[in-house]
Structures are given as structure tokens and as C-alpha cells.
Point group: D2
Chain length 429, copies 4
């Protein structure tokens, strides 16, 4: 490993301790490294503007950072155990190539604001992806609602057949929900879109750093002004991002639960493309909807990571090493969440309903609510209508799913899905 910048000469190191300190940092930092490089460029340019580094030094630093970025993209450079973490790798790269000028990059910044700014850029990109994936899921669901608005299916409460519903209602429900999720991600993006670079170790620095410049250069919407606030946001912003991810994955989980039921032999409402299924190692007859089950289970990853992060944040203000433990769960959960979300639109698009099975699952008793409400609307008190309805199965005979759906005229109901309203909100999400 390269020398540790902070290492005192009189320190005896212990392999177990060093391993414990290092953790998975270099692996985790692979995702952050490009952002760290980008922020390093901005920091160098900022230092140049206040004359801490010369024109030549800036040009050299920028050139070598670009080279490093290329080397990462090509796979020529891999962040690994040779380095303590991504920050050390950048410094080592520059110092090896540029000597003194390479060392200058660290002037006026601390690893505290360096990791904050790299993580912030990362969070912004991921939130943006989350928003787009939620929009994409919502759009797919909405399109299916448009094309299958009037296919009857049973509506369940308590997993018991309740009233007639339609695939249009089912799809539009998920469309509207994923729009909410997209909006949550969009709004949160505005909150976290702030530049912590220049806050140093959490108390500012005795240099007139040009933070306005780095804010613009890194395309942040605003500066995170207070260095103390920058430290307070560590982990807190990650938790907010995971909160947005949880909203989306909560909908994925219920969607996957529906599919898990709907693909049983007992329901058999829907066919999912074979690519989402696996076989069994012992049972030749099986085709298992593994992907559906893993989509369902994905929420747990985010939930666990959230608890992991928030458990570490019971701390006084200022940087504490505990905060480094927010990195692993945040990155792991965000990656997992997006890997989950990216599968959803295609899966939605690929579902094939068994329309006759859906229809056959609609029993006469499911018209009883219709009947009770009709009578209530005619003036029979609902409670009495309700009790009467229970008895008159004869009155249910002529009814069809179509008639039931056609009468569902309340806004959002099968006869008035208001898909245009949903679409209008989607356009803003």
C-alpha cells in the first residue's frame, strides 16, 4: 500500500487493525472515483483562481486527471488494495507523474469534504436515474392501462375476491404510484443539489477558496454554505435518498407480490416472459418466477441499509470515523435499488394476461356491492341495502363484469380512469 498521509512514524501497525480500518473502501470507491476526479479538477481550477497553483500546474493536473479517467474507463487502472482509498489513489497518481504540483491538489481540502463532494455528485446522478426509471415504469404502466382499460379482473381485499376490477384500473394504479415516486426523487434532487467542496474538515479553511466557481463548475444548484452543515448532512442525505428509493421499491414489492400470486397455478392470471424464470435443480417440472421474487425481496436491501446508516448517526456534530460506515450501505443499496428498478419497465411490458381466467374468477357474489349501492342510491339506507343485498343472489344473475365496470363512474373508477390526468402529472414528474 502507498504511504498513508496521516501516518505517524512511531505507529506500530497491526494487520487485523489495518484491515479493519480499510474495510471495503477501495472496492466501494470504484463507484465514487470518477466523481472524485471530477471534483478534483474543479478544486484545482478553484485553487488556480486564487493563485495557489500556477497555470502550468493546473494544466498538468487537469491533463493527468483526464488520463486517469481514461485509464479507469479502459480498465487499465483498477482501484485496488494497493491504495487506502480513492482519495489516496488520485494523490498517488498525480504525485508520481507531477511531483510537487501533484501534491498541491490537496491544499485547502480535507478528505472530509472530498468524500462529501464525490458522494454528492454520485447521489445526484443516482437520484436522477431513479427519477427516470420511475417515470419509465409509470409510462409503461400507463400505456398498458390505455390499451387494456376494459379487461375485467377480480378486485381483491384481504386477498378475498371483492368486486369487479379491470386491468385498466390495476395498471393505472401502478402508473400513478410510480409518478409519486418520480416526484419524490425529483424534489429530493433539488434538496441535495448543493456543493460541500471547500468546507474542509468541517470548519472551513484559511484560504479564500472560490466556492462559487467550484459550485458552477460541478453544476451544483447551490453552495452548501456551512461547513458544520456539510458534516451534518453526511449520512442524512444518503438516508433521504434511500427514503426515495424505498418509496419506489415499496411499489415494486407490491407489484411483485401481485405477480407472484398471479403466476401460481391457482390464480394463473398472467404469464411472465421465460427470461424472468428459472428451473429447479431437483424438480424437472418447475418454472420458477425467480426474478419476481427477487424484485419483491429488493426492498429489504434498502430497508437494511437505511437502518445501518441511521444507526451510525447517533453522534455529536463534526466528523467522526463512524460516518465512513455510511458509505457501504448507501452505495450497496442504491446500486441494488437501481438494478431492481431497471428491470421493471420491460417486465411490465412483457406481461401477458390470461383474460379468460381473469373473467372466470369473477363470481356473482362480487356484484353484491354494486347492488347494495344501487339500492342505497335509490333511497334504501345503506345499512339496510347492505343487509338486503346479502340475501338476494337472484338479483345478481343477469349482471356481467362489463356492466359492473361501466357503472364505476366515480373519477378513477373503471368507467372514468382519467388517464389523461395521470399522464399530465407524469409529464411534470
Amino acid at each position: 500500500m502507498t504511504d498513508l498521509l496521516w501516518q505517524k512514524s512511531d505507529t506500530v501497525t497491526d494487520a487485523r487493525v489495518m484491515r479493519f480500518l480499510a474495510g471495503d473502501d477501495v472496492i466501494l470507491d470504484r463507484e465514487l472515483l470518477p466523481y472524485d476526479i471530477r471534483a478534483s479538477r474543479a478544486h484545482a481550477a478553484g485553487l488556480h483562481r486564487i493563485a495557489v497553483i500556477t497555470d502550468e500546474e493546473l494544466a498538468a493536473i487537469v491533463r493527468e486527471l483526464d488520463t486517469l479517467m481514461t485509464a479507469i474507463s479502459s480498465g487499465e487502472f483498477v482501484l485496488d488494495q494497493r491504495f487506502e482509498d480513492g482519495h489516496s489513489a488520485i494523490e498517488a497518481w498525480l504525485t508520481e507523474r507531477l511531483g510537487v504540483a501533484g501534491q498541491r491538489i490537496h491544499t485547502g481540502r480535507s478528505r472530509n469534504d472530498q468524500v462529501l463532494v464525490a458522494t454528492r455528485l454520485y447521489l445526484k446522478d443516482r437520484l436522477s436515474e431513479l427519477r427516470q426509471l420511475c417515470v419509465s415504469a409509470a409510462r409503461t404502466a400507463l400505456n398498458r392501462a390505455i390499451h387494456e382499460s376494459d379487461v375485467p379482473m377480480p378486485g381483491y381485499t384481504h386477498l378475498q375476491r371483492a368486486v369487479v376490477s379491470s386491468t385498466g384500473m390495476w395498471w393505472s394504479g401502478f402508473a400513478e404510484s410510480f409518478i409519486d415516486d418520480a416526484i419524490v426523487a425529483r424534489d429530493l434532487l433539488a434538496v441535495v443539489d448543493s456543493n460541500p467542496l471547500g468546507t474542509a474538515a468541517g470548519y472551513g479553511v484559511n484560504l479564500p477558496l472560490d466556492r462559487e466557481h467550484t459550485t458552477r463548475a460541478l453544476d451544483f444548484a447551490r453552495m452548501q454554505v456551512s461547513p458544520v452543515a456539510a458534516q451534518l448532512s453526511r449520512g442524512k442525505y444518503e438516508l433521504l435518498v434511500l427514503g426515495a428509493m424505498k418509496a419506489a421499491l415499496a411499489d415494486v414489492r407490491r407489484f411483485a407480490w401481485d405477480l407472484s400470486l398471479f403466476t401460481t397455478s391457482e390464480f394463473r392470471f398472467v404469464e411472465i416472459p421465460a427470461m424472468y424464470c428459472t428451473g429447479s435443480s431437483i424438480m424437472p417440472n418447475k418454472r420458477n418466477p425467480d426474478v419476481i421474487e427477487l424484485l419483491r425481496a429488493s426492498y429489504a436491501v434498502i430497508a437494511g441499509a437505511s437502518v445501518e446508516i441511521e444507526s451510525t448517526l447517533s453522534l455529536p456534530s463534526g466528523y467522526q470515523r463512524d460516518l465512513q460506515y455510511t458509505k457501504g450501505p448507501a452505495l450497496r443499496a442504491i446500486r441494488h435499488g437501481l438494478d431492481t428498478m431497471v428491470l421493471v419497465p420491460d417486465l411490465m411490458a412483457g406481461l401477458v394476461w390470461h383474460e379468460s381466467t381473469l373473467r372466470n374468477a369473477i363470481e356473482p357474489a362480487m356484484y353484491m356491492t354494486d347492488l347494495a349501492i344501487e339500492r342505497a342510491a335509490e333511497g334504501v339506507p345503506f345499512r339496510e341495502a347492505y343487509r338486503t343485498a346479502s340475501d338476494v343472489s337472484s338479483a345478481l344473475k343477469g349482471r356481467t363484469p362489463e356492466r359492473s365496470l361501466a357503472a364505476r363512474t366515480s373519477p378513477g373508477g373503471a368507467a372514468d380512469l382519467r388517464l389523461d390526468e395521470i399522464r399530465a402529472r407524469l409529464e411534470q414528474a
Copy 2:
């Protein structure tokens, strides 16, 4: 207990089962009941607009709902074990007084959308309170930052004395953080501000309910269109609200941790008003900062409630009775969170710094970073500057906290706190 609307005559009930089913619903519903009454008025007006109830019936229902609201306010009516829940209480009240007309109120709605709309109105009010309390905490912190911008205090990392900081930096950090929290609450308010009333049991209803009217009447920003989406939002919206609460309480927790340390005999940086302290039952010498400790512990209540809610949401779409278990933790956590937040501004305002103790805690070694950066800015490579600085304690002698702070000229640093920028953002929060 009053008759259960849904009870079949052939059902044998068991006391343990009934108790298990009821849970704490009537207690919890005390907070929701006023919202349920308000939504019931809107629903009645909506039914009147589509001629399901007459002018006279509407007038009578509105009158009796108003009477009930008054009786609740005066303490004359208490929701208790006589009722299954708040919904039943309203229906019983109306039916007793109005007979058939009282029963009409239930036409076209289900307890599913009834609880949703009451909870939604409740969530809106609480989010609004949260936002205001965050604004209030931020404002208090900002005011203190303005008045105490240049009192030196030690800045810590790893709980070790690191560099000179100032009370101005400390206060402005919490100000900026609570502004974030206020904005999170504000944005979320826009997301949840949607009307689920009229979605019935989750599949709409065979009546042309005037949902635009109830949306306006209840002062919702928009209709939650899809009945399926309304069900999907149950618990999910509550989780989002708890997420906003957690952001605020995460800052409270770190603030309380600071105070818990700062009030030890060892630090003795700050005095908190006696009203936040208690004595000991066995140790006459003690004055304990109990309120600080409970503020610190409050995050846990929200964290636990979040896990409780999200654990129940692993379900297919549509209403399941499990969802009722989202009510208890949501109400308990929201109430607790607000009871916590409401104490923060006054506590902030009441803190008294021991300025000389703060100053005495600043050791010469805390100027070493200043020195290293000065040298780095003069052209010594930071790494070398860093190593050199470790040795020259002589160069640290003449330095003062004031000089150190005056040089902290990066935006957000002690010499350029940018409180105006922070205030400008506060105005929008």
C-alpha cells in the same frame, strides 16, 4: 360495543380475538376523529350534489357532525371502548340522532377510503407543523449565529480538538440543516396533498361521486385519481412523512449529543436552563440534563415506527388488514417527533455559553492546520507543509483564536459565514 356493521349473525366471537382485532384503534382514532368528521361533511355534501341525499338530510347531517365536533372539543364526547373505531362512532352518532338519514352517510364510501382521507388530512397538518417547527429551529439558530458569530470555540473531529471554530459556525450549521429539513417537509406536503375520498374499497364505486367537489371542499391540491393507487399509498405516504421527520430528528439527535457533551463537567461549555434538568432520587448532588437525553433518544421512536410500518407493507396490492397496523406507529411517531421538535427552538434560545471555558479549550496545536495551509499557499507542497507543521510548535505561539477565525475566509467559514444566504433560503423553506 355498538353493533359491528360487517358482523354476520352466525359468527361466534371470542373476547381475546375481539380484543386483538380492536387493538388500540379507538385510542388512536381520537387524533383522527376530527379529520374523519370533516371528511364526512365533505362526503355528505358530495352525495347531496349527486342527489343521493336531500337538502334536508344534508343540513341535518352537517348539523349533527358539527355538534359532534363541538362535543369532542368540549370533552363531552370521548371516543372509547364503546365503539369499534372512529368510523363506527360517527355512524352511531348520526344514526341515533337522524335515523335513516344518518345511515346514508356511508353510501358510496368504504372504511378504506374513509381512513385514508382522515389520515391524509392528518398527515398534511402534521407535515405543516413539522415544516414550521424546522423553520422555527432554523430561525432561532440563525439569530444566535448573527449575535454570536465570533465567539471562539474548539472544533472537533473524532471528538478530538482539531481546529478553532466559533459559535457562529456552530449555530449557522444547525440553521442550514434545519432549513433542509423544512424544505423536505414542504416538498413532501405537495406530494401527499391529494384526495383519496371516493375511491371506496380500492376499486371505485358505481356512483358518479363528485370527487372534484370533495377535493376542493377538503382543500386538497389534487385528486388521488386511481383507487388502486390510493391503496398503494397507504403506509407508503406515512413512511415518507416519517422520513421527513427523521431528517429533522437526525439533526436534533446530533444537536442533543453536542449538548450532552458540552454540559459534562469535563467540557462545561454551556449551561442549559434548569427547566430542562432533573435531579436524582439517590444522589443529591446531581443536576441531570434529562430533556437533552430524551431529545437525543427521540430519533429511535421514529426509526422503530418506520421499520414497523415498512415491515407490514410486504403485501399484494389492494387493502389487507395488515395495513391497519400502519396507523399506530405512524401516529405515535409523528406525535412524538413533533413533541420533540416543539422543544428545540426555546432550548436553543436558552443556552448560555461559558465563553472563557470555550476559549481555554483552544490549544496551540489547533493552529497547526492554519500554519500548514499558509505554507502550502506560499508554495510549499501540502504534504511537506503538513509534515513540517508538525514540528514547529514555535511558529504557533503568537496565534490567537481571533486570528485563526479571521483567516477562515472561504465562504461558510468563520470570516464569511454568509448568514444572508442562509436567511434567504430560510425565507423559502
Copy 3:
């Protein structure tokens, strides 16, 4: 409220602060009060043994504590907002009746060890109940396994029909699982069965308290020796108890999920007694398995409480007021968990299988695994056997569920359930 023992005369109190400090303590302490009284008796007897109180004082204290216990049982005394908490109530009761002698009871103890010992006695009783309820559930399941060992039912993996199973296998699976849970509770009972009384505020006391006597008098298996350890166990023991509760409720949750599926119209495998069902307020046709759903949801209560408790325990050693926040979630979760468990045995006993539906759900493809393994046992490599089996649906024709089950001769399989082995372990649980 009665005077606060610790109150300084110069303290101005604020209603919001007092309410925040009090929390729900008096409500929560209703469950702990009998244990607090019992421990107070033991403490008084201990003080008497070291001559801190006289014969007469002891007799009077014991008499009045007995009177209080009777008053609580009869409902004559109710712990309410007049008191700060249960400890204050006991002291007030004794002091009112006995004057000076009543005050003596507090000699040599702190509220810190007082709440610890009352909670410890409570935890022991609840763990014991948990163990018994797990045994009872296991016994019921085992009895049903004995009587229905050979009713065929489909065995699922991935919710897909996989191979033939039997009700005997299903019941014996839950029996063996609940035995594990009982053993976990039993073993944990031995760990927590230790007496913290006499550790005062966490650092012992300058009296020769007869802790051996109180240990025996309160029927503890051992003394918790170290006062520091006593404080470290606060919350930690509660978490361990919730861990045992979670093991049991994890099984309840999967059991309830099975029933939730098995009672759908699509599966219709089982009938649950009507007492576990409710109707719908809007849909007259519904009979909803609400109790099943709430049993399923109960795990969440324990999970949330665990996170709530563990989140508060991020503290230095010694008592901190945060620890008081472990009481609410612990009591709430334990009560809820036991209220859940108590329903399980009767529910198990009341289930009625639809045997023909179970049988009809067994499809020929479910014999393919049998066939593949037969061939593999005859020497065809399993992989080849597996591939061949997929094609020969003709070879599956003559097979019956009974033949499939009869061949399941591995221990634990349908043909060798080993219920005696399971019963033998139950006897020790």
C-alpha cells in the same frame, strides 16, 4: 402530581417539558407496578436484615405494600397522571400511611435498580409465557400431524406447485419450528434470571445490602453481580427477549401467510372458523380473514420495537435517561407478541382442510421429481435422469399422491415423519 423527589426548589417547570419528560410512564408502569411492589418487599426485608429498618417498620411496610397490591387488583387503586411513575406511587402510598417508616424504603436503592429489578421480574414472567405458548402451539401442531399424517397436499416452492406433500409434513414442520422457539425462550430465561436489585445507581452503595437474600426472596437464579453490568444489561436484555419473540413470530408470520393464501378462492384449501373473520362495511359478500392478517402483521411490531430499543443504546456505560425509552417499545412489543401467540394454538386446532381440493391441486407433473430420482437411483446420472424425466409424461400416468408419499422414506419425509423424535424434543422444550 406528587412532589418530585429530585426536584430542586429553584427549578421553573414548563408544561410541555414536563409532559415530554413524563411520556407514557404511568401507563406503562401499570404492568410493572406489581413487580415493583414485590421487589420493594424484598428490598425492605433486606434492609431489615441489615438493621436499617426495625421489625415494626418492616411489618408495616409489608402490610401496606400488600394493601396496595390488593387495591391494584381490585381496581381501587389506579396508577395515573397524579404520579410521576410507579416508583413515586409506591413511595407516596407508604409515606402517606407510614410517615417516616415509609420513606425508609428508598434507603440504599435508586430508581435505576428499582426499574431494573421490576423489569427483570416482568421479563422473566413474559419469557415463561412465551415458552409455554410456543410449547402449546407445537403440541397442537404435533397432534394434528399425528391425526392427519397422510392427507396429500401440494408442496410449493416459489409458490409454484412442486411435489406432493402432506398435511402431516406441514404440521410437523410448524411443530418442530415452534419447539425451537420454545427452547430459545427457555435458554434465554436462564440468562436473564439474575437480580440487579442492590446495584443502586450503577456503582453500588455504601451499605452491606443483603443481596443474597433479595435474590432468594425474588426467586432469581443468581445475582447480577456488577452494578456496571446491571446498567449495561438495560435494553440489551429486552432486545434479547424481543429476539426470542421474533423467532416465534417469524413462524407465526409464515403460518399466517400460508393461511392467507390457503383461504383465497383460488386455493380454497382450508376453512378457518368464522370467529377469526370479519365482514366488510361496503361489500356484503365478504368474509375476511382479518385475524390471520393481523397475526401476519404482528412480526412488524416486534421488529419496530427492536430497532427502537437498539437505536437508543448507542451510549456510554452508566445510566442515561435515553434508556428510559427502552421501556415503552419493550412492553408494547412483548404484550403484542403474547397477545398474538395466545391465539395460535386454538386457531391451529380449528382449521378444517378441504381434502378434495388439496388432492385436486396435485398435478401429474408433480411426480416428475419422483421419477427422476427413481431413475437416478437406478443408475441414470441425475442430470440425465432429470432431463429425461422432463419428457416422459407418459411414465407419470399411473402415479398417485399416496404412492408418492409412501416413497418419501427419508427421515422427516411423509413416510417417516419421526413424530416421536419431535415429541421427545418437545418434552424438553
Copy 4:
């Protein structure tokens, strides 16, 4: 990648889906692979005993499994992305080398019981390590208590100086706590020590598998009889193990919090060896107790993993693919927990107290409790003694820490630490 055993020829695969399905399985399985090989040997021997494989086949399989184990130990074989998971790797290895005989190994087992048995063996080893590490921490703490029983230090409640304590009390507190943790691990080991091999996909198998033999061969204390129970224990056992880990890490967290405070400039009670500290990248003056902070933060990893696992277990009985998501958090948390625990004994051994600082931190007011109790013991009612004591600071003058400790004669107190009792319990832990 090798062929997938379960793959249907008509399945189109998608890279994103395959990656999502694979997850980190091959990385995770590196820890499980040696156990999988060991269990495979036992399974082969079991198949041989029922004549499914011949003497020669068994010999060949055992030989090749041994070779594989050697290749893994030497680093010659690395489980990587060429394989779907560890199970596939074993089968591929055998089939390549042994052809048909290699395929036989899969007869009568499923990946469901294969992963269960490998994980079970892994859990046993890890629990055993946990127990030993708790014993080791307890022993170190106990030894220090013996040697430093009477060094005075302040005892804190609410982080406020409360009464005199001693390093002996502090160490013995942690000793007794870690003994509890060791016992929890020990008892749990007995619960999980059961053999799931032979339960196939969760419904047994149509072969007379010699499960008694595999149980003995793998050194399990008993057979997990029911295949349904085996599936129900998936994740549940992992949660129990994490529960035991949490008990230990809860103590580590409070221990680390103490050290984090005790190493501040303000307390300066203790010196930790330099090997547990790091420097700062920006502040040359810093020596930061990073290891202490990471020890403190480690609890969060286990807490997060527990929530992650339990969130996935909301499922019907039988295998579901969701269960695979229990592997990652379980392995990650267990490894992290043990990596944490392994540092504790040496850290304990290396602490150096600043005895004079400890002593100087003891203020006269800390004798007030002693005084109040003395007076109470002399007959002054405690409440009055308490109030009087507050005033008589004169009576506190002559007191010393030694006198205060010498009077702490209650068992467990400084004058009667009962280290022999604690040691006796340690011997059984």
C-alpha cells in the same frame, strides 16, 4: 459460465436479468464453499450406504472433493464468475473429472438443502468463534479488574459526575456483560446444531437417505427432522445468530463510547495504543481514535443486516427465491461482527489509565450520596437525609475516594467486587 442445471432450452436470457439473478453469490459462496464440500462428502457417503453410488464412485468423489479443497486452500482454485454459485462449481469440478460418477452427487439433494447444510456448518463455526471471543474479552476485562480493582475513577450517570467508582468496577462490569454474551452464543449453538441435509427441496425425497449417518459425519448434535421446518429455519436461524452477535456488539458499542469520551482532551482518562489511531489528512496535530469509532459503529452493520433478513422473511412456508437474499447480509454481518470482536481483547489489554486525571475528576459533591445514605442508615429518613445532604458540603471535606470505595460493601460494589463469582461463571460460558 457453465451450463445452468435448471435451464430450459427455450429460455432467452437477458444480461441484466442474469446479473440480477446472480447477485454476489459467487463472492459470498467463497466462505461457504469449504462447508459445501464437506457436506458433499457426507452426502456422497450417505448415498453409498444406500447403494446409490458404488465403492469406486465414492472413493473417486471423495478424492476429487479433497483435491478441490486443497486447490481452494492453496489459491489454485478461485470461485468466480465462471460459475453460477458454489454448488455449480462443485458439480462442474466433479463432472469434469469423473463424468457420470460426478453427476451422481446431486442425487437426492436439492440446492435448497445443500445451501442449508453449508450455511448451518458455517453458522456453527462462527457462533463458536463468537463465544470464544466473548470469553476472551471477558477474561481480559476480568484480569484487569483483578489488577486494578481499587483505582478510583468518577462514576457517571447522565454523563454527569455522580459518585466515586473504580476501574475495578468498570472492568468487572464489562467482564460480566461479555460472559452473558458468551452464554447466549453457547446456548444458541445448541439450538442451531441440527442437520438439514436430506430434506431436499423442502418435502423430503423418495430415497431412504441415511440422515443419521450424515448427521454423525458432519458432527451435528441432532437431525433437523422436518423438511418443512428446515425451510422455516432459513433466515430465522441467521437472525438468531445475529441476535447473539448484537448482544456482544451492544457491549462493544458502549465500551467504545466510553473510550471515545475517555480519550478526549476534556476527559483524558485513558491512553489507547497508537496502533488504534490514525492521523488526519489536513490537520497535522491530530491523533484520532479511528478504531474505537469503528468498533462503536459496528453494531449498525449487524442491525442493518438483521432488518434486511427479517424483511425478506414475510413469506409463505416453503422455499422462495427471496430467501437467497438472507445470505448476503448474514455473511457480511457475521464476518464484520467477528472482525470487530477479535480486536477487543487486545485493545482492552492495551489501555493505559491516567490515574491522577481519574482521581482529579472526583469532586467533593460526589460524596453527597455516601453521606445521605450514612445518615439514612442511622435513622434519618432517606428523603430528609437526601435534602439535608445537599446543604452540608462541610461534612464532605475529609472524605477521600478510597474511603468512599471502602464503604461500598454491597456485593458487586467496589469493596466486594466478587470477582471469584464472576470468574466461576466465566468458566462455564
